[in-house]
Every structure is written in C-alpha cells, then in structure tokens.
C-alpha cells in the first residue's frame, strides 16, 4: 500500500481544470444589487434617524464623519459584490456537483452525488420575480459541506433537481 507521487499526479484522472464551469444567471446580479442597495439604505436610514433623535453632542459633531465611513463601507461592499458575481460558477458532472464563488476568498467546493442526503429547490419572493431559483444540497457532514447554489434559472434548477433526485434514490 505504498503511495507514490505518480499516483497523485496521474494524468488519467479527471481534472478539475478540464471542467467548464458555467456562470449563474445574469439576472441574479440584479438581485444582488437590490439586496446591497437595501442594506446600504437600511444602514444610512438608521444613521439619519439617529441624527434626528440622538442629541448627544459627540454624535452630532461627528455625524458626517460616521456617515462618510458608512458610505465608503457600503460602496466598497457594493463594488466587491458586483465583481464577485463573475466568480459564481457551477458545474454538474457525472458524479459530483461543483460550485465556485468568492472574489477575495475564492473557494471551489465539490460534493459527490453519492454523498448528497437530500436536495431542495428554494425560491424567495424576489427570485420568483426574476424567474430564478436556488438549489440547496445537503450532505451528512457538518454545515461546511453543504452546498447552496443561488441564482439558477428556474428551468435549469428544476432539471438539476430532478436529475440529482433520481440519482440519489437510484443509488439506494
């Protein structure tokens, strides 16, 4: 059972690099933008309400300072979220599901289909307006090994859901 280097670097193994990862639906970018805008609005709203009601001088004097910090934070968050959108990609292979995401911390997760316990298609109200759906794949593992692919076109999500459901049940 000795292990050699060549085994790992065997060219015959299916390679991650050969997989064509598919970007999620462009319409999901709108959802991200809406979500981020709502978040920024909420933060700034709280601040403005604070300005009207809190009469402490320390707060009033520094209001514009705090406001601009929050503003910059929102802006950076916004830009990163939009740039990171391009990194959200997925692929369904014969035996596994791959999902990649993240701009600053990029991660690629693969869950073998034989390890999926159940699969779920969920659609929020906003996602329904854009005809999108999210797929949640649950494994037996800690929460770290569960996979959630957001922003799939509804039709495709359904297809994948059906395909994987059949595969899971077929294996039993």
């Amino acid at each position: 059972m000795s292990f050699t280097n060549s085994q790992i670097f065997n060219d015959a193994l299916p390679k991650l690099e050969d997989v064509k990862l598919k970007p999620i639906s462009k319409r999901y970018l709108k959802i991200i933008i809406l979500n981020k805008l709502a978040m920024c609005a909420a933060f700034l709203g709280v601040l403005i309400v604070g300005k009207l009601f809190i009469e402490r001088e320390a707060f009033q004097d520094n209001f514009w300072f705090i406001f601009s910090i929050v503003m910059v934070f929102c802006l950076i968050n916004f830009v990163i979220a939009i740039l990171a959108f391009k990194k959200r990609k997925y692929a369904i292979r014969d035996h596994d599901v791959i999902y990649a995401s993240g701009l600053i911390v990029n991660s690629i997760t693969t869950v073998p289909i034989s390890r999926i316990q159940h699969i779920e298609e969920s659609r929020s109200w906003l996602a329904r307006q854009f005809n999108l759906a999210a797929l949640n794949l649950y494994t037996a593992g800690e929460s770290g090994s569960d996979l959630s692919i957001k922003g799939l076109p509804h039709e495709e999500a359904k297809q994948i859901n059906d395909y994987i459901s059949v595969r899971i049940n077929g294996n039993q």
């Binding site: 790992i8 690099e17 911390v105 037996a140």
Partner: protein, 499 residues
Amino acid sequence: MEISDFSQPARQSAKGIIIIFGFNTFKFFKKFFVLFLALGLSLMKKKTFASLSPTIIILIVAGILIVLLLFAILKYLNFRFHISKDDFHLSTGIFNKDNTIIPKSKIQNVYVKQNFLQQLINVVSLNIETAGDNKSEIEISALDKSTALLLKKELFNKNEANADSDSTLVNEQKTVFFKVSPKRLLLEGVSQNHLKSFAIIASFVFGLYYEFKDYIKDLKIRERIEGVIQLDEATLFGIFLTNLFIVVLAILFSLVFSVIKTFITNFNLQVVENQKTIEINKGLFNKISLSLTPSRIQNIVIKTNRLKQYFGLHTMSVKQAMVNAKQKKNFVIIALEKNQVNHLIDKLLENYTSHLEAYKPAYYYKRILGLDMLITAVIANGIAHLIFGSNVWWINLILVPLAILYVYYGFKKAYYKIDDEFVTIGGGVIDTTTNILEIHKIQAVKLKQTIFQKRRQITSVIISTASKSVKIPYIKESEAKSIYDFLLYKVESQDKDWM
C-alpha cells in the same frame, strides 16, 4: 427484580423513583440556585426573607419536595417499555401520553451510564441513540446492570443477526486492552493545558462576582484587600511580589483544577477490545460505557505535546457520525502509550500505515503564521499601553521570541500524507496533532484561495467528513488540484458507503 423477557411491557426498577426524584430535585434547585443563595444570605443577615419566618420557609420547601416526589412516582408508573419483533416500544408521560416506536435497525448506539446517585443505589441507565437530531435519544434511567446488559444485547443482536449470525458468538471474547493507572492520570492532569482551566475558573469567578456584586460590596472585601496591599505599596519590590504571588496562586489553582477534572472524568478509564468493536468505560461520578464501531468512525485525532511526549502520554479522540455534542466529548481516550495508540489505530482503521512520505506546506504558511503573530503582538502592545502606560515596551522582549518559536514550530509540525485509503494531516503549535480520515468517508472537498494567494499560486484544501472538516493548509496550487482530483476520483469510483 431482574427482567429477562422484554416482550411484555415492563417498568424500570422501582429504584427509578429515587433516580427521577433525585434528578428532578437537582434540576429544580439548580434552576433556582441564585434565588436560594440569596435566600440563605438574607436569612443569615436578617433571620427573615420577604417577611416569612424560617418555619414557613421550611414548610414551603417540604411541600415542593413532596410535589416533586409525587411527580416522580407518577412518571415511574407511566414509563413502560417492551420489545416486539423488530421494534422497541416506549410509552411515557403523565398528562401527555407519548408512545415512541423505534425500529431496531435504526438504532445507532446503545450505551450504559451510571451517575453518582445511580452508583449509590446500584442501578444503571441505558441510552438508546438513533440517527438524527439530539432529541431522538431515549434514556431508561434505572435498570439493574444485568437487565441493562441483556436489553442492550437484545436490541443489538437481532439488529445485526441478519448481517452475520456468528458475530454474537465472537463478541463474547473480551479482553481488557488498556487500563489507566492513577499515576498516569496524575501526569495527564499535570501536563494539561492550564490556560484552559484558568479560563474556566476565571469565567466562573467572574460569573459569581457579577451575580453577587451587591453582597460582595456589603462584605467590603475591596477595602480589606486594598488595606492589605497598601502595606507593600511603598516599594516596587512589594508590587512585584504581590503580582508574583497572584500569578503563582492562579497557576496552582489551575493545576489543581486540571488534575481534579482529569480524575473525575477519566477515573478507571478502561478500553475493552471486542472482536469488532472497542468499548470505553470511565468516570468517577458519572460512569459511562461507550462502544465504538469502526464503520461509524469519521475522524481520528491524536494529540500530544512536548511535555506529554516526554511522559509517553497520547490522547486519542474518535469522532463518530451522528452522535450528539454531549457524547462527542466522551469519545476521548487519554494517557495512551505510543504503541497502544498504534494498536488502536490498527484495530479501527484497517491497512493504515504511517510510513509514507510526508509533504510540507509551502513557505507561504510561515508568512501566514508570522502575520498571525504580528497581529497578536500589535494587539498585546496596544492593550499593555492602555493599561500600563508607555513604559512597557519590554514585553516585546518576551513576545518576539515567543512569536518566532510559534512560527518555527507551527511550520515544522505541519505536514500531510495521502495514500490509497487515508489522509493524514499533522499540525499544531504547542500541541502536536495528527488527524486521520478515511478517503471513502469524505463528504465534500473544497479549495480555498485568497486574492493574495492567487498571485503566488497557493491554495488550501479543506476536506469534510460527517463529523469534522480538516484543512491541508497553504500548499502549491498544482499540488492542491491534484489532491482534489485524486480524492474525488477515489470517493466517486469506489462504491463504498460512508457509514
């Protein structure tokens, strides 16, 4: 009192009343602990509490106890269980009747426990665990030991009878493989991480202090302590001495606490080897007996540190799938010799070998460790400045060498080994940890890379099993990708179940 036929609905041993009563009383008093303490304190001071005389208070307490006892009796009378052909039946409840049926095939684990009270009246409790969330656990809290063992066998035997019928015969052969001696327990206690013990003590003391702020203020402890300290305040040496005294006291307390804790939880630790499974028995006040089945094991972690290595002490924790958090902590065997660890690994993991080439993380890992230390040092300096003023630059004389050692050992101890069936990952800074997992038990594999690592082509691989995620930190991207492909290929090409 012994029950041998489980086909008829039976109650637990009549002693169960005492157990239920004792347990409920304990829970009740624990809940109102603070109230009772307050009551006691004010009784001491004023002889009354909320204008009630001591006799009335005693009557109230007695009344509560009687109600609790009544509940215990009713609970006992309404607790019945029996085994039908394939299922375990349990009916409970005084007002809300619950009827639970568990198919034998779904039972994951059956273990025997004995807490202090149960030890006194010589009964044991039997826990039946099923896959799923924490609430699906059943506890029969008072059975004779022989009945419990019989029931356990009954639940398990038919469970596995279809799989292989002769396993029951072979299972009888038991050998006590390892028994801990008090000396080794003591050594284990002494060489533990005392910072942890200190943190527990400190949080406990602070918690108490917070609860009883007002009472403590009354006692004027502060003024007294200040009075004592003022005597020494004249000289710098005095301050130094008081500080040293406090530090020594804290260390001593932590040490004693660690030793006592180790003794209580691991008293009479015993590892029994069956043909297929391994059984762990331990505990002073809470005697527990657990069995490990190799097929359910997800990760094995072996821990030791410099000091422990010197004494030949190794700690092995086994992570099983589908056990609740409370049980997780109990699957720990301490004070093992190196060869005993190897023996257990051989037993639990077939074909495992550690004689493989070890690969190291990239040098980038050193930078990450260094960065960690830099941030810690900056924060430590900041805090020191805020508390003691600007003349404490000298703490860097201690911090810098410590940081260098941290980076050095952190990098030195990190490695990983992969063969056809197992992944072994080593790590730790003060501790030396070895993580072993079987490849076919992997649930998911993940590559993680930050922007900064992307330029240098460094990636971490995170491998998740059903009970834990482990990380191969900061290796070359090409290497990481090969491992990723290899692991997935292994998982997907073999049709092996993970449990």
